[in-house]
């Protein structure tokens, strides 16, 4: 009954969206006469990497603004409805020299292709123009676009910034500690987050030391982070998407960097293979904290290494190119330093991507992605792991952008095959099938429909089918944005959508010190994980350099796998199903000056799960229990500031998080069972028992930490030498990671941990 109601609801929404797209296409086609569309890619001149969110503005010859747009996630811009005449075209992006040219538009062609290459350097526009054409203006609710500068500004104990450190400064992103690599986004589970690297999935992108991911600043071009409400292009996850676009290697000159810090060593190298035509980029990292922490007398048995190679080939001067990617990672360590469990995981990603741009067709942009993603993770004795789980996915996707008059259509097709296997020694009692495969295919369609100059509607649907596993599903998603004054950086936007996930990543959150994930098809009644998102947000600049945004959101989640409660101290557990919801508000205030910059973000969220378990009626007198799961961090505040004065950089970051829920023990005893026979108290020890309070009724202490780094850049003619010093947890706050109640041991996060780094990099 519930399912029927749900299907009807989806059907109705889908019909409405299909109708909107159809009517818009008819209407749009009829009015689109005698106007020219200018379109093209904005890319880095040195390496052809597309630049999302670059501003492209047409001015009249009298200097008045005629039309302006931002490039999309592919670096593509499309300016519709341009009438015949002469214009000045200007393209800008922070960190690049502004491009300016004159453009003659005639009616001889319907589509005018105009690719733009931007060169790195100081932006020559004055301050006011920069604000009006703000770098990250054209993003919607739930979406943040991250670039290299953002990543650099977060104190990171290494020669380079890291995307992982940045992501954790965002409100709504909860980390349960500085190790383990699990992030909870707006109430979702870590295994419900999707991380893409040039279109290829990375199952576990965050390293065992929480500051680091597989994304150092050198290799990242841009990253689009969707805390929810993402469009129909993304499928297979129910919580968030982190879509990272890598740089291409330089097509004209060799660049390198090498750094050494007390946390890790890192090398980066890029070189043209054939000048102007193809390039190679290599990045490799290895952690050093295991070795350096011994010197501090505070051993941290955590290590990782990763390698990444990217080949890029320019196909033609219209912006078409192909790239190939190889990436592998290896993480290993003990989250509980004195325990016996060693966690290990390996990622392997092989990817290929081709982008084609057409001058003549109404289809200006096509990209094709092929990838293989693999994760193996295990826990236990290092020689003989007790549990192991692996997943491999082969994925193909075609993305197409098509213009029908002023209506932009984005659609695509995808096919995936996933193989999963595990050996868990009955750890999860309900999971018996050890090898499984899922074959799935899907398609998506999204339309961008301008309704006048101030309102934009983005209806979309995602359809998928998994053979022999789940029925066909259609998930509608709609986004609407309103720019009351027509400014790109001032917008009220809202999004609603339905999201499904065909596989579950099961983590035993009875044990906070666990990083083992078992990947399996959805374990409950053949139902995929399901989430509904609803978000609304407002953002606005205040003056020239200050801006703020406020977002409210709700997520409803179904079919969540959670561990079954037990009062008996035991190794294994059963899996129960839970439904959940998260409701919260994120507020961001940002000051972005030339010398001083600061960001303050505050997130408030209530996350609740409701689950049915057999014991509850006996235990609490109710069939269903609602509780706050262990990642329900109610308040989160992050303040970050920095000074960038000539060759000095100072970055300070303070973060605060209210206490996380945990199930309080009342105590231990051994119980003797009086039932069908009588125990002999002199002979029998009994069964050790933990007497627990209501699930997750307690709160751990609040968390806060101050990280500081100062960097001096020294010009050595052909290279920069960068010296950095800083400290993690500068005032040595004891932040709890978890408490092992069985052994009475408290495991803390990193204490005061000074670091220094030396980095040498070639001048670009």
């Amino acid at each position: 009954m519930h399912q029927d109601h749900h299907n009807n609801w989806v059907l109705k929404i889908t019909n409405v969206i299909s109708g909107i797209i159809f009517v818009s296409l008819c209407f749009g086609t009829s009015v689109a006469l005698a106007q020219v569309t200018i379109r093209g890619l904005v890319s880095e001149a040195s390496n052809s990497t597309p630049l999302p969110a670059a501003n492209v503005v047409l001015y009249t010859m009298e200097g008045e603004t005629y039309k302006g747009v931002s490039t999309d996630v592919n670096g593509l811009f499309i300016i519709n409805g341009v009438t015949k005449g002469s214009y000045v075209i200007r393209a800008s992006f922070i960190g690049f020299r502004t491009f300016t040219d004159t453009l003659e538009v005639s009616f001889f062609t319907e589509n005018l292709n105009y690719n733009i290459l931007l060169e790195e350097g100081e932006n020559t526009l004055d301050d006011i123009i920069v604000v009006e054409e703000g770098n990250k203006a054209d993003v919607d609710v739930g979406h943040i676009r991250i670039d290299k500068v953002d990543i650099q500004r977060v104190p990171t104990p290494a020669g380079s910034g890291d995307l992982a450190s940045y992501i954790q400064t965002l409100p709504g992103v909860v980390s349960t500690g500085d190790r383990g690599g699990n992030l909870f986004i707006r109430g979702g589970m870590p295994t419900e987050n999707m991380t893409l690297i040039d279109g290829a999935l990375v199952y576990q992108p965050f390293h065992i030391i929480g500051f680091f991911s597989v994304f150092p600043e050198e290799i990242v071009s841009t990253a689009d982070f969707y805390a929810g409400g993402f469009g129909p292009k993304y499928s297979g996850r129910t919580s968030s998407v982190l879509d990272v676009k890598l740089r291409n290697g330089d097509l004209y000159k060799r660049n390198f960097s090498a750094s050494l810090s007390s946390f890790l060593s890192q090398v980066y190298f890029e070189t043209p293979l054939k000048k102007g035509k193809s390039s190679l980029m290599i990045s490799a990292r290895r952690s050093l904290i295991e070795e350096s922490s011994e010197l501090y007398g505070n051993p941290q048995p955590l290590s990782f290494n990763s390698q990444m190679v990217k080949l890029n080939k320019v196909i033609n001067d219209q912006g078409s190119n192909c790239s190939a990617l190889f990436m592998r990672t290896k993480d290993q360590g003990k989250l509980d330093y004195s325990g016996n469990d060693v966690f290990r995981w390996n990622n392997l990603v092989l990817g290929g991507k081709c982008v084609a741009l057409s001058q003549e067709s109404s289809v200006p942009y096509v990209d094709i992605n092929l990838s293989i993603s693999h994760l193996n993770n295990e826990v236990g004795d290092i020689e003989d792991p007790e549990r192991q789980s692996a997943i491999t996915m082969f994925h193909t996707q075609i993305n197409i952008v098509q213009m029908i008059s002023s209506i932009r259509l984005e659609y695509g097709f995808t096919t995936t095959i996933r193989w999963m296997n595990y050996e868990i020694n009955d750890y999860f009692a309900d999971l018996n099938t050890k090898r499984q495969a899922i074959l799935g295919s899907g398609a998506y369609l999204q339309s961008v429909i301008p309704l006048g100059k101030k309102i934009e509607l983005k209806p979309g649907i995602n359809a998928s089918l998994f053979l022999f596993r789940y029925g066909a599903t259609v998930d509608p998603r709609v986004q609407v944005s309103y720019k009351p004054r027509g400014r790109k950086d001032e917008e009220l936007s809202a999004v609603v959508g339905l999201y499904r996930q065909p596989i579950s990543g099961i983590i035993d959150f009875r044990d906070a010190g666990s990083a083992f994930t078992l990947w399996t098809p959805a374990p409950f009644d053949g139902e995929q994980l399901l989430a509904k998102h609803a978000m609304v947000g407002w953002r606005q600049p205040i003056g020239g350099k200050l801006s703020y945004s406020v977002e409210g959101y709700m997520k409803w989640m179904e079919e969540l796998p959670v561990s079954t409660w037990s009062s008996i101290a035991k190794f294994n557990t059963s899996i129960s199903v839970a439904d959940g919801n998260s409701k919260g508000v994120d507020v961001n205030l940002k000051y972005n000056g030339d010398v001083f910059y600061s960001t303050v973000g505050y997130g408030y969220v209530i996350t609740e799960y409701t689950t049915y378990q057999e014991l509850f009626n006996t235990w609490y007198g109710v069939d269903n229990l609602t509780y706050n799961p262990p990642h329900d961090r109610r308040h989160q505040l992050n303040a970050q500031m920095g000074f960038d004065f000539k060759t000095f950089d100072l970055n300070i970051q303070w973060s605060y998080g209210s206490g996380l829920p945990f199930t309080r023990p009342i105590g231990f005893d051994e119980y003797l069972e009086y039932g069908f026979s009588q125990p002999d108290v002199r002979e029998e020890y009994g069964t050790p028992r933990i007497i627990l309070d209501r699930p997750f009724d307690g709160r751990m202490p609040e968390y806060h930490r101050l990280n500081v780094s100062v960097e001096k850049s020294i010009d050595l003619n052909t290279v920069w030498m960068k010296l950095q010093a800083g400290a993690i947890n500068t005032y040595d706050k004891q932040n709890i990671f978890y408490f092992d109640i069985y052994t009475q041991r408290r495991i803390d996060q990193l204490p005061f941990f000074p670091f220094a780094s030396l980095k040498v990099e070639s001048k670009r």
Binding site: G593, W654, R664, L672, G675, F676, R689, D732
Partner: protein, 308 residues
């Protein structure tokens, strides 16, 4: 340009103040105590007050922070009070230890030779010097006539027949066995087979007579996966106990539920189970008078018959 300078001038003191506040705040580290100290559960109590025994043994442990007890004595006084007479006896602690395969674990039982009388009510109190107290009140079932046991002729089946018990809470066949393996080896075992769990008890609604059927060798053979011919019964006895509502009714609960502290507990401000029983232990054989009439055997360990 002017705006920028003003902003910086205004922000700098704010930043410095914020930093100082943060550092001061950071100096105060938390003293995290994960245990819920508000919960009013002080002691764990398990055991039986048995009118048929001359010594009572009760397991007492504090609801503690450690998974295993360290063997050291803890602050507890244990008393048993007859609620009718007010007579109170104080129990004596005795430490026990067992090796659980990995380490030696300790536990404490409290004992007394004070009288426990049938049909009387007793309060067992456990309290410490800080005023924390757990207690339980149980009534002892009436004495009953020692039942007769008929082993039958030529096999191991037997039936126990008796009367005067409202609720039989335990009826165990206790077997001392030698089991011979196919490889020619042998090992000795002691097995308890519950007839209550096996639902081998019938009761006459008119006469109040109950019958308990013992047919456990098949069960034992199945347990060890050997034919009956490889099992040698060295000796056996029957233990049965009369109980009342202090004995937990476990039929409707799963083992998981039974482990929950509140499900079958009758301990106030504590956890565990204290039961009042009246028991008898009989030889696994038939006894006859000089006229070859079946009679009750002399109990192996009981005061019930003595009183009768």
């Amino acid at each position: 340009m002017t705006i920028r300078t003003d902003t910086k001038a205004n922000l700098l003191p704010v930043i410095i103040t914020a930093l100082v506040v943060m550092i001061i705040a950071g100096c105060k580290n938390d003293n995290f105590d994960p245990f819920n100290r508000e919960a009013d559960l002080h002691f764990s109590i398990h055991g039986a007050l048995d009118a048929s025994l001359d010594t009572q043994w009760i397991r007492i442990s504090p609801v503690r922070d450690d998974f295993f007890q360290n063997g050291e004595a803890f602050d507890a006084t244990v008393t048993i009070t007859n609620t009718r007479t007010g007579q109170t006896v104080t129990m004596n602690p005795e430490r026990f230890s067992r090796f659980n395969g990995e380490e030696t674990v300790y536990f404490w039982n409290y004992w007394t030779t004070g009288d426990i009388e049938a049909e009387e009510e007793y309060v067992l109190r456990v309290f410490d010097s800080e005023g924390n107290e757990s207690s339980s009140t149980v009534r002892i079932p009436p004495d009953f006539v020692t039942p007769t046991f008929d082993l039958g002729r030529g096999d191991d089946n037997g039936v126990l027949i008796g009367e005067g018990i409202d609720r039989i809470v335990v009826a165990d066949g206790i077997y001392y066995l030698t089991i011979y393996t196919e490889e020619g080896g042998a090992f000795v075992r002691k097995e308890y087979i519950s007839q209550v769990e096996g639902e081998n008890i019938t009761r006459s609604a008119t006469t109040g007579l109950y019958r308990i059927y013992f047919d456990d060798m098949v069960v034992i053979a199945d347990l060890y996966k050997v034919p009956l011919t490889r099992i040698q019964l060295d000796s056996a006895k029957i233990y049965m106990a009369a109980g009342n509502d202090s004995w937990p009714d476990v039929v409707n609960y799963t083992p998981e539920e039974l482990s929950l502290p509140h499900v079958v507990s009758n301990i106030e401000n504590g956890v565990g189970v204290l039961v009042g029983i009246n028991s008898v232990t009989l030889p696994f054989r038939s006894c006859y008078d000089q006229d070859q009439q079946l009679i009750a055997c002399e109990p192996l360990k009981s005061r019930a018959l003595i009183k009768n």
